[in-house]
Structures are given as structure tokens and as C-alpha cells.
């Protein structure tokens, strides 16, 4: 079975995968809600870190917990908990970020059975020199809580191993992204998204093996499809793979992305340091920031523009989860930046489920702007 097929299989059977992992390793699973949660520490604790995501189905169970203008992702994620689909989780954690997903965490804590919840008080003033020392302290508390829960000490060797594995994972995924620079990328945007989402659900060691296999496959992988317009996807949380697949049937290919089930999640590596927690803290304070954390627009904008140029894109799909105010803050700035650089943009707003007909029309019209030449 090809690596990508394996990723797809894990995505389709994610809950089964986690439960099998628990049996096989006689271990515990820890669910995390935001990409600022330090997966390295969870893994070092001998647990399977599982990112909690939605299922993109119409649901009517969250309205009594989350008010109407909470972002659909936070809503969909909570729905999974309320429906008992994550009952196998032993621990729930989240690093402090936005109020929307905070609502998911708080309600999960109160209304979904779970053995332990731990809230990591991520400092939000990441530009301040005071942030790192504090985050180290916060991590110490997290480590103690996990040690107490598992009854197993988290040693430096454990942390070394975890950091090593996650850094490898990041390196390998970046190598895969390199292939997307080719004129005919051997991997589609949807497949890449499947790869990254899988990395948030799987045992990272296993995911690394699959990445090595994928990197062997890619050089002679042929997709009998028309590349069409080279697109970049920029925005908030986004794991609606069905949508990306639909989009890529319309004569375009997503060749690079900037969102939290893509590059923004994994791009930065941990710089090893004898103080392991300090090294991890540095990674999350200096990482590619989500607008929910960093107040400043520019650093993110600059990194996005560099990617856009390096991957030689023709257009940008700029999207947000409906009601995601942190991203709504950045969008006007980003729009201006792309305009100043003559990069066409299409803005879309995502909900738990989306009206395919209308989105299809918007995307086709957008692609026509880029490709339809008049005689």
C-alpha cells in the first residue's frame, strides 16, 4: 500500500487507529485542541497525542453549549466529544489561544467524561522576553501532571527521543513540500493535507516511516492530471479535505499552504538545548504564529509572501472559519499585501458544512480570471 493510501486509511479510521494503538502499546491517548499544545512532551510521556478535529456533518448537539457565533470548527470539535466519538481519550489538553476553542475545552471539561484535563497557560505576549521563562514553568506543571497520571517519569532521554522524532517529522514533511515546487507536483494539495492531518493523529515514529516511504515514491510518482493554476491556501483551521479534492478537480492544484493543518503547524523545528523544556518552549514562542496569539500582522505576512514566491503560485485562496475573529483581523492586511504583489486572491468563509454549488462557482470564476484568455 502506498504511503498516501495509508494516510487516507488512518484518517478514515482515526478513532479505531487510536484505540488499537492503546491496546498494542498498553498506553494512554491524549487529545489536544490547538497547535500550540506541545506534542513533544505528550509523546515523551509515552502517550499518543491525538488532535481533536470535527467531522463536517450537520449536527444539533452544541447549541446549548456554544452560542451561535462561535466558530464552526470549535463547534464541530465539541460535537464529536458530546457524541462520544473520543471516549477513548484519557487526557484532554489545550494551550491557551483563542476564546472559541477555549469554549470547546471548557465545555468538554464539564460535559464530556474524561479522566484528566490540563490547561497549558501559553503566554500570549510572544514578542516579550518574559514569555519563554514562563512557558518553561508552565511546562514543568504539565510534565508533573502527566507523570502523576501515567505513574511514569518523563526523563531527558524521553524528551530527547520525542524532540528528535518530531524534528525528523518536520524535516521530512518539508522535503515532501519541496516536491510541490516542481512544475508537475507529484502530490496534490489534498494529499498533502491528508499527510499533515495524519501526522496529528498517528504515532509520530510510524508517520516518519511512511514519510520515508513517500519520499522514495514521489520521484517517480505520476499523476495523470492537469496541474492547472498553482494555488496557495492561507487561513485558519482547515481539514475539509473533501472540499480541497473538489477544488482540485477544477483545473487547479494547491502547491503550498499556510494554515494549522499545514505548514503553520509543523514548519518550525525545536533547536536542541541541554534544557529540554527550554528548547521546546523556545519553539512554541518563536514559531510561525497564529493570529490568535501574535498581535503583530507583519511577521506572519512576510513569511506567507516568501512561501508564495518560493512555490511560484498564481493565486491565493484566503479562507477563514466563519466567526474566526483572530483571522478576520489579519485578512484585510493580507489582501492588501497580495494586491501590492499582483497576486490574485479569493476569500471564502467556511462553516461546519459548506454549500458546494456556490463555492464551486466562486472558485471556477476565480480560476477563469487567472486562465481564461480572450481571443
Amino acid at each position: 500500500m502506498g504511503a498516501i493510501e495509508k494516510f487516507q486509511e488512518v484518517l478514515a479510521t482515526r478513532h479505531q487507529y487510536a484505540q488499537d494503538w492503546k491496546k498494542k502499546h498498553n498506553g494512554k491517548a491524549i487529545g489536544w485542541l490547538c497547535t500550540y499544545s506541545p506534542v513533544e512532551i505528550m509523546y515523551a510521556a509515552g502517550m499518543l497525542p491525538v488532535r481533536i478535529l470535527g467531522s463536517h456533518e450537520v449536527q444539533d448537539v452544541t447549541d446549548r453549549y456554544l452560542f451561535p457565533t462561535v466558530c464552526p470548527f470549535s463547534r464541530d470539535a465539541l460535537a464529536q466529544g458530546l457524541k462520544g466519538r473520543y471516549n477513548y481519550l484519557d487526557v484532554l489538553t489545550m494551550a491557551r489561544t483563542c476564546s472559541h476553542v477555549q469554549g470547546t475545552f471548557d465545555n468538554w471539561k464539564n460535559y464530556v467524561p474524561i479522566s484528566l484535563t490540563y490547561y497549558i497557560w501559553m503566554p500570549q505576549h510572544v514578542a516579550s522576553r518574559r514569555a519563554k521563562p514562563l512557558l518553561v514553568q508552565e511546562y514543568k506543571g504539565f510534565v508533573q501532571a502527566l507523570e502523576k497520571f501515567t505513574g511514569k517519569k518523563i526523563t531527558d532521554t524521553d524528551l530527547d527521543k520525542a524532540i528528535e522524532l518530531y524534528n525528523t517529522n518536520r524535516k521530512l514533511m518539508k522535503q515532501v513540500y519541496e516536491f510541490r515546487k516542481k512544475e508537475e507536483p507529484p502530490i496534490t494539495g489534498a494529499e498533502c493535507m491528508e499527510m499533515v492531518v495524519a501526522s496529528q493523529l498517528m504515532d509520530i515514529a510510524e508517520h516518519n516511516k511512511l514519510l520515508e516511504q513517500l519520499l522514495k515514491e514521489l520521484p517517480n510518482r505520476k499523476l495523470n492530471r492537469n496541474v492547472g493554476v498553482r494555488l496557495m491556501m492561507v487561513g485558519s483551521e482547515m481539514d475539509d479535505i473533501v472540499f480541497v479534492k473538489m477544488m482540485e478537480t477544477l483545473n487547479c492544484t494547491v502547491v503550498i499552504d499556510e494554515h494549522c493543518t499545514g505548514s503553520r503547524y509543523f514548519w518550525d523545528e525545536v533547536k536542541p538545548d541541554k534544557d529540554h523544556l527550554a528548547a521546546i518552549a523556545a519553539r512554541y514562542v518563536d514559531r510561525w504564529q497564529c493570529p490568535a496569539v501574535a498581535a503583530e500582522f507583519k511577521p506572519r505576512a512576510d513569511r506567507i509572501l516568501k512561501h508564495a514566491k518560493d512555490w511560484n503560485i498564481q493565486g491565493v485562496l484566503l479562507y477563514q472559519q466563519k466567526f474566526c475573529d483572530p483571522h478576520e483581523f489579519d485578512i484585510p492586511t493580507l489582501l492588501k499585501m497580495f494586491k501590492d504583489n499582483n497576486i490574485a486572491t479569493l476569500v471564502l468563509e467556511f462553516d461546519v458544512t459548506i454549500p458546494f454549488g456556490q463555492f464551486r462557482t466562486r472558485i471556477e470564476a476565480f480560476l477563469e480570471i487567472l486562465e481564461l484568455e480572450l481571443v
Partner: protein, 254 residues
Amino acid sequence: MITAGIDVGAKTIKAVIVKDNKIVARSMNPTGFEPVVTAEKTLEEAVKQAGISRNDIKKIFSTGAGRKSIPFADHNVTEVTADAKGMNYLLPSVRTIVDIGAEEARGISSDASGRVLDFSKNDKCAAGAGAFVESMSRALELTVPLMIEISHKSTKEAPINATCAVFAESEVVSLIHTKIDKADIAHAVHDAIASRVSSMVRRIPIEKDVALIGGVANNTAIVEAMKKHLGVEIKVPEKPDYVSALGAALLAAA
């Protein structure tokens, strides 16, 4: 003692006359543009039906959206209070009432005596109300009864993601354009409403028995869908559209 209740709704006006705790007459007319005239007419019809004279009526209570516009009413009560009272008379075992009118839906939780404990309503959105069915039936080019009928024959799930009635209408149109079976679309429409309504009703504690009232309660497809979404049996009293008027009449007797 004889009392009357008048429910002035967005679409129809209903009157119920109660004599010594027994229903003796019911009548209904489309609201039209002159609710007062229609209310007068509707009450007169009920009076005839009951074989009494207007002066025999000791008290008249009005309810419904236009409850305050009825000059000959002695007093007015909100639909929520009236629903709870009327329901308690018809089916005393009911603790949760779902009332779906033309433009408004409510969830009401009441005690054994028919007193309101808590309620929720849909905010500024007709998606979870009767009007939704009608605009969809137009998009489907079917009469409402036919739409209900075929909806029961549906075999496949069809997605209607939009919550706004008109927006959903365009989804229905594009579903039609993508050749999805009308039966499945009709089913999806009812499912969409039920999903909206149960979402709203879940804001109050849902205790058995649960009853569905209001004009839409005559729509068997919605009753089915509501069962599915709330996961409970749903009772529908006979003449579900008269419950508010009945409650008002009973309150007038109290």
C-alpha cells in the same frame, strides 16, 4: 362559565370557545391584512358553532403575535403561557412542548399543572419555522401536501447546509439542477427544519412526554424528522393548531 381564546398568528387566526372546561367550538381564518376584522369574524363563527350568543361569553383572552391588537379581548397572554395551559388540558403527561408556527418556533418546558418552567425561541430566523417549508415547496414546484407525501418515499440523504430560508432555497435549486431525486430533497428540507428546531429546543431540559403543536404539527414528515433528531417519541394532539387559542380560553376561565 363560558370563555373564549383568540390566537392572532402571523398567518392564521384561531378562536376556541370553552364551556365549563369543555371545548364547544373552534374556528380558523387566514389573518389577512385586517386582523381585528378577521378576529371578530372568526369569533362570530365560533359563537354560531357553539350555538350561544356573544354575550354568553364571560371573558375573552387573546394570544399570538398580534395579541395586543384585539380591542375586544379582556386581557392578553403570550403564546408560551397559553401553549403550556392548553397542552396540559389536552395531554397532562406532556412536560416538553415544541410549537412550530409559520414564522416562529418555541420549546417550552412545563410542570404537571401546566405552569411554564422555561422556554426557548428561535431568534430572528425563519429557518426553523413553517414559512421555510412553503418557500422550499415553491422551489421544488410541489404543493406542500405533495412535498410531505413524497418526502416519506425518500431513500437517500441529501445535504441542505444553509440555515437561512432563502439561501437554502438556492441550495434546493442547485440540488434539483444536480438531478437529485425530489423525494430526497423534500426529505432533506424537513430534516433541515427539524435539525434547527431541535437545536433550539435543546436549550431547555427535554423531559417526556414531548409534544409537537402548531400548524406545522400537521406535517407528518416533520414529526418523523423531529423524532429522529430529539430521539424521543413525539405526541401530536388532535387539532394541534388550536392549542394556543385553547390555552387562552382556559386561562380566561381561571
